[in-house]
């Protein structure tokens, strides 16, 4: 096939190709802000040569198909970084909630008081007794002491229950996360099935792949999932050393409660039907589980230690006090931060509080209670009550600060990588515009060729 009609045929191909390119440009622009969208291009190639009278010349353009551009490696790298960021953010978020629960450092200027202040106030509460003017009415002093004791008990219980409800909300978030993960795993398997059917056209395939990549990224952020495509184009999703999606089949996850210390039960994650706990490589769920299994119990057990030591020491002193109608009875009942309460017997009979009683060693009860400020307690590793509390705040602060800093660093890394990925796969409107100009001009030129062929045919026709 050659000659002028042949030229018309070639030009037709050119026009088709440009129309298609315009279509793809349109698709790109339409999806410029679609998450996970990879820009597409019409793959063109030069057609084999035609033999003419004077020799051979090119046969026009061939449409090879629609290409999905992008760097596959960057995408899974971004997944790992997101997993780390999501893990640290989960920790940092939860720590900042715990920091709010403690409300330290409190500042009188703003009318704030912390648990530490309540303890100090209680240890000071006996002082009015030795304080000559304030003990005119013993009932008042006993009322003050009861009040201070009650405040401590409340602060402890409130703090403990706020920590418990943080644990409950973490458990809820894990449950939601697991549901989300299971849905995503199913969707990825379905997408794998769709992608493996031969009936898809290039454009639809590219769009499915985009969708699947978005899901995979979400899985990374949740459970630190990693993925691989084998030689046959089958995709596997891994996490914690297990295959969660094997091409078209997905394995759902489930959680199981584990007995924890300090009344905060942790959770473990395992694949449905298995007994093996999964150890996640990263992801929000890893952060949530770490918070639930380690960090929160640590804070609670430190708080419990403080409450227990306070209860033990104060009770021991008051038990030993004799004289002045009181003493020999516990001030606090309970044995932990969540169970501490003022001994109900005292509430009914405040006169059992010893105000000026003496200990066997001759010390005044007021002095002995006040000395708890500085007494280093053997069962607390030689720390004072204040030391236990400031240690708890310091621990909380440094854990929170370090997870916050790690989250920030991971966030920056994630932003950098996602910029890099976007640079590779994203749609640049300017670029599409320039491309459109090329397509438009080519189309115009092709049209010009048709006009020229037509004119040439006209000349031929009239000459005949």
């Amino acid at each position: 096939m050659s000659g002028l009609f042949g030229l018309l045929e070639t030009t037709k191909l050119t026009i088709f190709a440009q129309e298609m390119s315009l279509g793809v440009i349109n698709h790109n622009i339409a999806n410029a802000s679609t998450p996970g969208y990879h820009r597409q291009r019409v793959a063109l190639s030069a057609r084999g040569s035609l033999v003419g009278l004077g020799g051979t010349f090119g046969g026009g353009v061939n449409i090879e198909g629609i290409e999905r551009l992008g760097d596959r490696f960057l995408s899974s790298q971004l997944g790992r970084v997101s997993a780390n960021r999501a893990e640290q953010s989960a920790l940092a978020d939860s720590f900042s909630v715990i920091e709010t629960i403690f409300g330290e450092p409190a500042d009188d200027t703003y009318g704030e008081t912390g648990l530490g202040d309540a303890i100090d106030a209680f240890l000071n509460a006996w002082q009015p007794v030795v304080n000559p003017e304030m003990n005119a009415e013993d009932a008042d002093t006993r009322g003050l002491i009861l009040e201070a004791a009650n405040t401590i008990a409340h602060r402890f219980r409130d703090t403990a229950s706020a920590l418990q409800s943080e644990a409950a909300s973490l458990r809820e978030r894990v449950a939601v996360g697991v549901r989300e993960v299971n849905a995503l795993l199913g969707e990825v398997a379905e997408l794998n099935l769709a992608l493996s059917s031969g009936s898809l056209n290039d454009s639809a395939r590219a769009d499915f792949e985009d969708t699947r990549e978005v899901k995979l990224q979400q899985l990374s952020a949740l459970i630190g999932a990693d993925w691989q495509v084998d030689g046959e184009g089958k995709l596997r999703v891994y996490s914690g050393g297990r295959v969660l999606v094997d091409h078209v089949s997905a394995h759902a996850l489930t959680t199981e409660a584990i007995e924890g210390e300090a009344g905060v039960g942790g959770l473990r994650l395992l694949p449905t039907g298995s007994r093996d706990t999964m150890t996640l490589a990263g992801g929000e769920l890893k952060g949530l589980l770490a918070m639930l299994d380690n960090e929160l119990p640590e804070v609670l057990s430190r708080l419990d230690a403080l409450a227990t030591r306070l209860i033990e020491r104060v009770n021991a002193i008051h038990q030993a006090a004799t004289g002045d109608g009181g003493g020999g009875i516990d001030i606090f009942s309970g044995n932990s931060a969540s169970s501490i309460a003022v001994n109900p017997a005292l509430l009914a009979h405040p006169e059992q509080i010893s105000l000026t009683g003496k200990l066997p060693d001759g010390q005044d009860i007021a002095a002995a209670i006040f000395a708890l400020h500085t007494e280093s307690i053997e069962s607390a590793g030689g720390l004072t009550l204040g030391g236990l509390y400031s240690g708890l705040i310091g621990h909380l602060g440094s854990r929170s600060a370090s997870s916050g800093q790690l989250a920030q660093a991971a966030e920056r890394l994630e932003a950098g990588l996602s910029q890099k990925l976007e640079s590779s796969v994203g749609v640049s409107i300017d670029e599409e515009m320039a491309q459109m100009l090329v397509v438009q001009t080519t189309y115009q030129a092709a049209a010009k060729v048709i006009t020229a062929v037509e004119e040439m045919l006209d000349v031929l026709m009239t000459a005949l």
Binding site: S96, G386, L396, G397, S398, A401, S423, S428, I429
Partner: protein, 505 residues
């Protein structure tokens, strides 16, 4: 690198967010709003707050005790004024040329005021009731005033390990005290080599430890004195360790360590926390480089022979004892006394007289029992009393008793009895004058303590502010620069998003 719209959008948004966070995160008042802002700083803040709370409690205690002491001082001052008026009234009554009319009424008024001073209250508590602050400590029933408080001394913590006593128990102020005085002279027991180390320094003793001794020639040795009981053992061990040294007893009261061979300066130091040298007070005050101890003052006991006492010559003579102003004095014969115990027994055989070893120093305490005055004096031609340092007299302190007796004497016109009571009234005046100083002294102690506490509070509060508060100037500067950055990124975003190729096609 390709730059897509979304990239521009993302990075713009990230920049704007970051600039906003920085701007919003600047707190003009507080540097640490949560522990993670500065974990160690937050820990220090918590600790400081606890210290400050304790310090403030101390301040409250001191302030409260000071007010109590101020009121006590005022009450004692009034009581002293009352006694002065009583003395003037007594002097008036003692003079036969004055009329006694109206004096009894004045005395009754003073008595009543005295009672109200003794029952002074502050903040609903009686100042002079000891720990029984809720009921009036002194109750008058006709001519008898009884004390219902106790002897408790009340104190309040004013600093770590320091407490301030703020009350004077009424028994010691308005209660009756027997007449007593302490002998004027130390009964100095001669120290000899058999004197036990435990007896030294009024029986407080010396615990022998290890000494490093260097003689005048520079030779040095560690002398282990542990287990040594007497001064002789101490001497022998030192001389055995360093043969150049000689240990001597000077004047029967001090030890001397002298280098008789080299003649140079002898030095001694305690080894490992010992306190032998320090307790003995060994110092280089001896002549020719010798060490001299302080006065060894062995303890006096009932069994000490009178012959061992310096300046006492046996046999002793007789002492004149006058109880309740009786004349002539009773004669106590001490000539048979051999030991200190014999001497005390001879005195104590007199009804109404108690003589005992004083709690501190090698002295004796002479007291008249049953509210009698007591006086010891030399008898004619016998200086035994002066030689023993026992000359002295004391009146009993009976604040209410004296006043009531005086009023009775005035009412019945018994001027002789009035004159008899004069020394007691004078003693009472001294009693209140000296007591009056006690709250004052404690007040100045309290003031010092308060100043220290305030200074400490100031230091801790400034530390608290230094750690916890933001430097306002710096924070403002940071805020302004953060705000500028935020505005700039907003302007930039607004402009950059307008730039697209479509505008030029």
């Amino acid at each position: 690198m390709r730059v897509t719209q979304k990239m521009r959008q993302d990075s713009m948004l990230a920049n704007i967010n970051r600039a906003y966070d920085r701007m919003a995160g600047i707190n003009l008042q507080r540097r640490i709003t949560k522990p993670s802002d500065d974990p160690s700083g937050a820990e220090q803040l918590v600790r400081l707050r606890s210290l400050i709370s304790r310090n403030e409690q101390y301040q409250a205690n001191v302030a409260s005790a000071s007010r109590w002491l101020t009121y006590s001082e005022a009450a004692l001052g009034n009581a002293a004024e009352n006694v002065r008026s009583v003395r003037e009234l007594a002097l008036t009554a003692a003079d036969d040329s004055n009329s006694l009319e109206g004096l009894a009424e004045s005395l009754e008024a003073i008595l009543q005021d005295m009672l109200s001073q003794a029952n002074a209250e502050h903040g609903g508590r009686y100042l002079f009731g000891g720990s029984q602050g809720a009921q009036a400590p002194f109750q008058r029933n006709g001519d008898i005033v009884t004390y219902h408080g106790d002897d408790s001394e009340l104190s309040t913590a004013i600093s770590s390990g320091l407490s301030l006593r703020y009350n004077l128990p009424g028994s010691a102020v308005f209660g009756e005290q027997s007449a007593d005085f302490v002998s004027t002279k130390d009964w100095d027991r001669v120290t000899d080599w058999d004197t036990e180390l435990a007896e030294l320094f009024d029986g407080t003793g010396v615990k022998p430890g290890r000494l490093r001794i260097t003689d005048g020639g520079g030779a040095s040795a560690v002398v282990d004195l542990r287990g040594a009981a007497t001064l002789a053992e101490l001497r022998d061990r030192i001389q055995a360790a360093l043969p150049s040294l000689r240990v001597n007893l000077i004047d029967g009261e001090r030890l001397e360590i002298r280098d008789t061979v080299n003649g140079g300066q002898v030095r001694v130091a305690d080894v490992q926390g010992g306190e032998t040298a320090a307790r003995l007070g060994l110092s280089a005050s001896g002549a020719g480089g010798a060490l001299l101890s302080r006065d060894l003052d062995p303890h006096l006991s009932a069994g000490t022979p009178l012959g061992d006492l310096r300046g006492v010559n046996l046999p002793l003579g007789q002492v004149g004892v006058s109880l309740a102003g009786a004349t002539p004095p009773i004669t106590v014969d001490l000539s048979a006394a051999v030991t200190v115990g014999d001497l005390l027994d001879a005195f104590n055989a007199v009804p109404g007289l108690t003589v005992s070893l004083a709690a501190a120093g090698n002295r004796v305490l002479v007291s008249g029992t049953g509210g009698q005055s007591v006086a010891l004096s030399d008898l004619d031609g016998d200086a035994t009393t002066s030689a023993l340092g026992l000359v002295g007299s004391a009146e009993p302190i009976r604040p209410f008793g004296t006043l009531i007796d005086l009023k009775a004497a005035v009412t019945s016109g018994d001027r002789e009895r009035v004159r008899e009571l004069l020394p007691e009234i004078e003693a009472l005046e001294d009693h209140f004058t000296s007591l009056r100083a006690t709250p004052g002294n404690r007040l100045s102690l309290a003031e010092d303590a308060l100043a220290t506490l305030e200074a400490r509070n100031h230091t801790m509060t400034s530390a608290l502010s230094e750690i916890g508060d933001a430097d306002m100037t710096e924070a403002l500067m940071q805020y302004q620069s953060a705000e500028a950055v935020y505005q700039a990124s907003l302007v930039m975003a607004a402009n950059i998003f307008q730039l697209t190729l479509t505008d030029y096609l």
